[in-house]
């Protein structure tokens, strides 16, 4: 009897190690204010009831990558995938504290925010190089997708041959044009969603089980 218990324990331990390895680390990337943290919060809340971090309309609210582990996402077809979600600081090529002053921040606070945001971008790029198995690239569908940062980032992700799902966020806004994003990146699946309202996120979950599984 004892033998059986021991074997079973060993077996389940092995299985756990095996399962942990299967947990894919998914990074949510994109320019500042695209809604990365909002989506991360939604995913985590939908599947674990937790939250990842605060959101704000001032760009660069997330200045350190935040991680939430072992989230099991089940698609409508019953397929499920275990992921670690990494919410990253918005990637941009220019950070200027004047931008934050326009949002009513004090000069010193704005300068600190700019410095932290710069460190955050470097950190996000570090994650992308070493620890990420798949990418959700978020774009604001009310904005022009043909920005240099987006083209460059998608290029970098492609060069690392990571699976990428492009999310056209903010479709609840009247001037959203997710089709523009679709035509900008025809080589990747584009899912239009509203992270805030939760529109169409089921389709995203479906795609995630298919892509990151």
């Amino acid at each position: 009897m004892n033998f059986f218990v021991r074997t079973r324990k060993k077996f389940s331990k092995l299985l756990r190690i095996f399962l942990r390895k299967k947990s894919a680390r998914i990074g949510i990337y994109g320019p500042p204010n695209a809604g990365k943290t909002t989506l991360a919060n939604r995913i985590v809340r939908d599947w674990t009831g937790d939250a990842v971090g605060p959101v704000s309309e001032i760009p660069h609210e997330t200045r350190r990558a935040r991680r939430k582990e072992n989230i099991i996402i089940t698609g409508l077809n019953g397929n499920s995938v275990t992921i670690d979600i990494v919410d990253t600081p918005g990637v941009t090529t220019k950070i200027d504290y004047h931008e934050f002053i326009e949002y009513g921040l004090e000069k010193e606070e704005a300068i600190t925010r700019a410095r932290e945001a710069t460190e955050g971008v470097a950190e996000a790029m570090h994650w992308l190089r070493e620890d990420i198995d798949g990418v959700i690239y978020m774009l604001d569908s009310t904005l022009d997708p043909f920005m240099q940062v987006n083209i460059m980032m998608v290029g970098i992700i492609e060069s690392r041959s990571l699976p990428v799902i492009i999310v056209a966020n903010k479709i609840d806004l009247p001037d959203a044009a997710p089709s523009r994003i679709r035509s900008a990146f025809p080589q990747h699946p584009v899912i239009p969603i509203s992270g805030l309202e939760g529109d169409n996120v089921d389709q995203l979950y479906e795609k995630m089980t298919e892509y990151f599984g």
């Binding site: 950070i95 300068i111 470097a122 190089r129 970098i156």
Partner: protein, 126 residues
């Protein structure tokens, strides 16, 4: 001996560096080296610069503009550029390549190298 612009006839003193960027009046790129005695021949004898060139057998000097060297993001060596305190320019491609930090201070091309970040990479290679 002065140079003369073959397009508008404007004259420039010998050794003038202005013409290297083209004629400031008409942006012409071709200049003729004229003898001082013949300096005003084009007006007085109503000769075109081409005729003058033929007469004097001097070659028409053409200023070729230097091809504009556009510095692309990926040609730059710095990963972060500090324009002013609180203003940064980030070189995403460099940041994606490695953790090495080369920081450029925009005032008179000063660079700061984070040697520690470069050491880390070597350690990993071993």
């Amino acid at each position: 001996m002065p140079h003369k612009c073959t397009q508008c006839g404007r004259e420039f003193k010998d050794g003038s560096t202005i013409i290297l960027k083209g004629c400031p009046s008409c942006a012409g790129k071709k200049f003729l080296y004229v003898k001082e005695s013949q300096q005003h021949d084009d007006v007085l004898k109503e000769k075109s610069p081409e005729e003058l060139a033929e007469e004097s057998r001097d070659e028409v000097l053409e200023v070729k503009p230097e091809p504009a060297r556009s510095v692309q993001m990926h040609d730059r060596i710095e990963s972060i550029r500090i324009l002013a305190p609180g203003s940064y320019e980030l070189n995403i491609e460099k940041l994606a390549e490695s953790d090495e930090r080369v920081i450029r201070l925009d005032t008179d091309g000063k660079y700061v190298l984070d040697i520690l970040s470069m050491m880390k990479k070597q350690k990993k290679k071993k």
